[in-house]
Amino acid sequence: MSRVAMLIDESKCTACRGCQVACKQWNDLQGWEYSHTRNRGSYENPPDLSPQTWTRIRFNEYEGPDGFRWLFLKEGCMHCGDPACVAVCPTGALKKQPNGLVSFEKDLCNGCGYCTQFCPFHIPRLEVANPLTGEAKSSKCVFCQDRVSNNLLPACVKTCPAKALDFGDRDEMIAKGKARVQALLERGYSEANLYGENLVGGLGRLYVLIAPPEAYGLPANPQYPASAAFWQKIVQPLGSVAFGAAILGIIGAFFVIRRNIRMEEVQ
């Protein structure tokens, strides 16, 4: 099965935040943050992704070659081709689906929060019920898995009035993104670029940007965390080998000394 991807054309985004509302509505997420709104010197709201806000428009204030402007970024899970969250999740609640979508099964989550700490984009958020007992549930954008697997578009894509969002076969999205970048370059957006084609195994969320990724607050060169690779590929197998060796060594040593003692008694 070929991979799916979301193509987000930030040159078209008007920051209407219809995607935020559609996401909450379809996924049945609370809007309590909106009733806690405070003026923080920005139009963006809510202030950050949260367990109840899986996507959000970030308002980046950018001083570019043509003076000040806003750069809008639709934040959310990148659905990495090489997802560290899936590798570190001890429960299997996070899974990489055959179509490349990183799904999340809330019932399986035990709230350990490893995914929130190993994600190179700091996307998953932990809804902590009790910090002392550690009772919690993780959450993140799942590309509306229920809709997508029934041949519907994700809620945010469906609702976007500016047609800034597109969703479908990943290769097709890359081709569309590249064509759009080309068109933007020709129109004089000299910094236009496509973000995510080859990052962390190829992102499932591709951005057409009109400024460098850093200006959007995106990491220019995100990496699969080395600590996750070290932990999963070296420490864990080493643990199994060490325990196995210790147990076998002890059993062996027991028989050796028992034999030697009996030999001595015979002599």
């Binding site: 429960t91 035990n110 350990c112 600590s227 996750a228 864990q236 325990f243 002890i250 030697n260």
Partner: protein, 241 residues
């Protein structure tokens, strides 16, 4: 105390002398009672094959057990320090290595695995193996405790790189200390020649004869123990030639 051993006709007399205080034994067993559940519940998040136990409410329950056990595990040495600070410091000093420990390490394989009756350098109240166990457990208390506290309370507060490092430290220290525990367990309950340790840890006493042989520096004092050791070595060299 006179004991009739199985299969032996004549009774042997054992003179018991005190070895561990009540608090030392209580500390040891409370440490065991918290460390074992900690290791078992911790492994659930470590080994992929234990995934079914990590899922959903079960995983949540084991994480809670881990935290309760962790608090008790952390408190044991602190409470011990409050009750008997000097005794705790003395215990820590007893675990530190000296030059006889090198000789012990060289001969340990032949003695404990092959069952050869080599002459071992005189040992204090704790022999080199027990010292290693003690040192690793002290390191485990510090490192597992610190990394655990950071993971517990600083998740999302401090940079994620720090959390990641703590996961690695916690896991590596767990592997080392659980391997040490397995060896310790074997020597205590299954090793055919090491019956005395478990008796001492249960009842606080040891046989004087055993102490003289295995813990000479503690039984005779360091000076006399070294004299006896040198004499033993000379005798052994004499019989060989």
């Amino acid at each position: 105390m006179t004991v009739q051993l199985k299969g032996k006709r004549e009774a042997i007399t054992i003179r018991w002398i005190p070895k561990y205080t009540f608090l030392e034994r209580a500390g040891h067993w409370l440490h065991t009672a918290t460390f074992v559940p900690l290791a078992l519940t911790g492994m659930i998040l470590f080994f992929p094959f234990l995934q079914p136990l990590a899922q959903g409410p079960a995983g949540q329950f084991f994480r809670l057990v881990h935290r309760i056990a962790a608090v008790l595990f952390g408190l044991i040495p602190i409470v011990y320090f409050i009750i008997q600070p000097r005794r705790l410091l003395m215990n820590i000093r007893e675990f530190l290595f000296d030059k006889e420990d090198i000789g012990w390490l060289k001969n340990a394989f032949g003695y404990y695995v092959l069952g050869r009756h080599g002459i071992m350098p005189p040992q204090g109240r704790f022999n080199t193996g027990e010292k290693m166990n003690g040192l690793i457990m002290m390191a485990a208390w510090v490192l597992l405790g610190l990394s655990g506290l950071i993971m517990w309370f600083a998740k999302g507060v401090l940079p994620s790189g720090l959390f990641q490092a703590m996961v690695i430290i916690h896991d590596v220290m767990m592997i080392i200390s659980v391997c040490m525990l397995l060896v310790h367990l074997y020597l205590a309950i299954a090793h055919p020649l090491m019956w005395a340790g478990l008796v001492s840890m249960r009842f606080g006493v040891t046989s004087a004869e055993y102490a003289a042989e295995h813990h000479a520096k503690w039984y005779y004092g360091p000076k006399r123990a070294m004299e006896l050791y040198e004499a033993q070595k000379r005798q052994a060299a004499g019989t060989e030639h």
